[in-house]
């Protein structure tokens, strides 16, 4: 399916979605956190989209907002899609976990939690992955401060 056809189909599911191309090969969808799980479930289960492969899950700190970017692919239809979700809440950012839809998200979400402090509801084992258990703070956030180890340029 082409990006245009994907947009025409998916926009009929949830009205508030925002579609952009951002000069990339992918169609980008920005979704509200409340609708994330519903959209993801539908993207996987709908036979026309059938996104059965989550090939990248990244945390992003845009400065004001924190968010997660999901890269999806359908191994049957060979089309790809990017889904973005954002929140302004830096104190307690929370999204729904997608690990029940794509099992690989279990570890990717742990990594995002480790470095960005983003919580995922319904995640089975949300704890530090790379950093030590007693680590204080989330080092990939733009406002992270470490006066001992970091030399700021």
């Amino acid at each position: 399916m082409t990006n245009e056809a994907l947009q025409n189909l998916i926009s009929t599911w949830i009205p508030e979605l925002e579609f952009t191309e951002e000069k990339s090969q992918f169609l980008n969808i920005t979704v509200q956190p409340e609708q994330l799980h519903q959209l993801m479930t539908q993207l996987k289960s709908n036979s026309e989209t059938n996104f059965d492969y989550l090939f990248c899950l990244s945390g992003v700190d845009w400065g004001a907002a924190l968010g997660v970017v999901y890269h999806l692919e359908s191994t049957a239809h060979r089309h790809q899609l990017v889904v973005k979700v954002k929140t302004e809440d830096r104190e307690n950012p929370t999204f729904d976990s997608v690990w029940t839809i794509w099992r690989t998200a279990e570890f990717h979400e742990r990594e995002v939690f480790d470095f960005f402090g983003i919580q995922f509801t319904n995640h089975p084992n949300l704890k530090r992955l790379f950093l030590t258990e007693d680590w204080d703070g989330f080092p990939l956030r733009k406002d992270y401060v470490d006066e001992i180890n970091m030399i700021i340029k």
Partner: protein, 186 residues
């Protein structure tokens, strides 16, 4: 056929060989010199590589550059059998205790080469990094620094030959435990 009475002596042999006839020769040298000569030419390095410098280190050991020409013949998977550790790559805070333990497990005499910018100073991760140790010499004492990002095999070979030259100047009388007086600079 017959016994060759003309001894074939390596050019860098530290001492004098006096032909004694019947194939038996008399060897005159000092213990320091001959031990250092043996040590310098049979350095066994530890398999240790934490990032891209390790690729260049493998190339230095492979056929074209071949560090076994200089006696770095045998790389050992256990620190207890190694004389030399080449720190080939970035050392992060989580790796630092592991590196220190590996070094402590090596039998003396032991030597360290810091290969590449990361092992020398943290390199490209010097600024704005929460995880990288700014130089492996905060963890263990380093004998030879090889700059580069990564260094070419020729540069690493040069560093290894410099280490050999350093070993040849040592004396049992003045040799100290390298960790004594080691300043982590923290």
């Amino acid at each position: 056929m017959g016994i060759n009475n003309t001894p074939e002596i390596p050019a860098d042999f530290p001492g004098k060989v006096i032909p004694g006839g019947n194939g038996a020769n008399i060897l005159v040298t000092s213990l320091d010199e001959i031990i250092n000569w043996g040590r310098a030419n049979s350095l066994w390095s530890l398999y240790f590589g934490t990032s891209c410098c390790a690729i260049e280190m493998m190339q230095t050991g492979a056929a074209r550059h071949d560090y076994s020409r200089f006696g770095f013949e045998v790389a050992r998977p256990s620190p207890r059998q190694a004389d030399l550790i080449i720190i080939a790559g970035t050392i992060v805070n989580k790796m630092a205790p592991v590196l220190r333990r590996l070094y402590d497990q090596m039998a003396e005499p032991k030597y360290v080469i810091a290969m590449g910018a990361c092992a020398i100073s943290g390199g490209p991760f010097y600024y704005n990094s929460y995880s990288v140790v700014k130089g492996a010499d905060h963890v263990i004492p380093v004998d030879v620094y090889v700059p580069g990002c990564p260094p070419r095999p020729e540069a690493l070979l040069e560093g290894m030959l410099m280490l050999q030259a350093k070993i040849k100047t040592e004396s049992m009388k003045t040799k100290v435990f390298p960790i004594d007086g080691f300043d982590e600079g923290l």
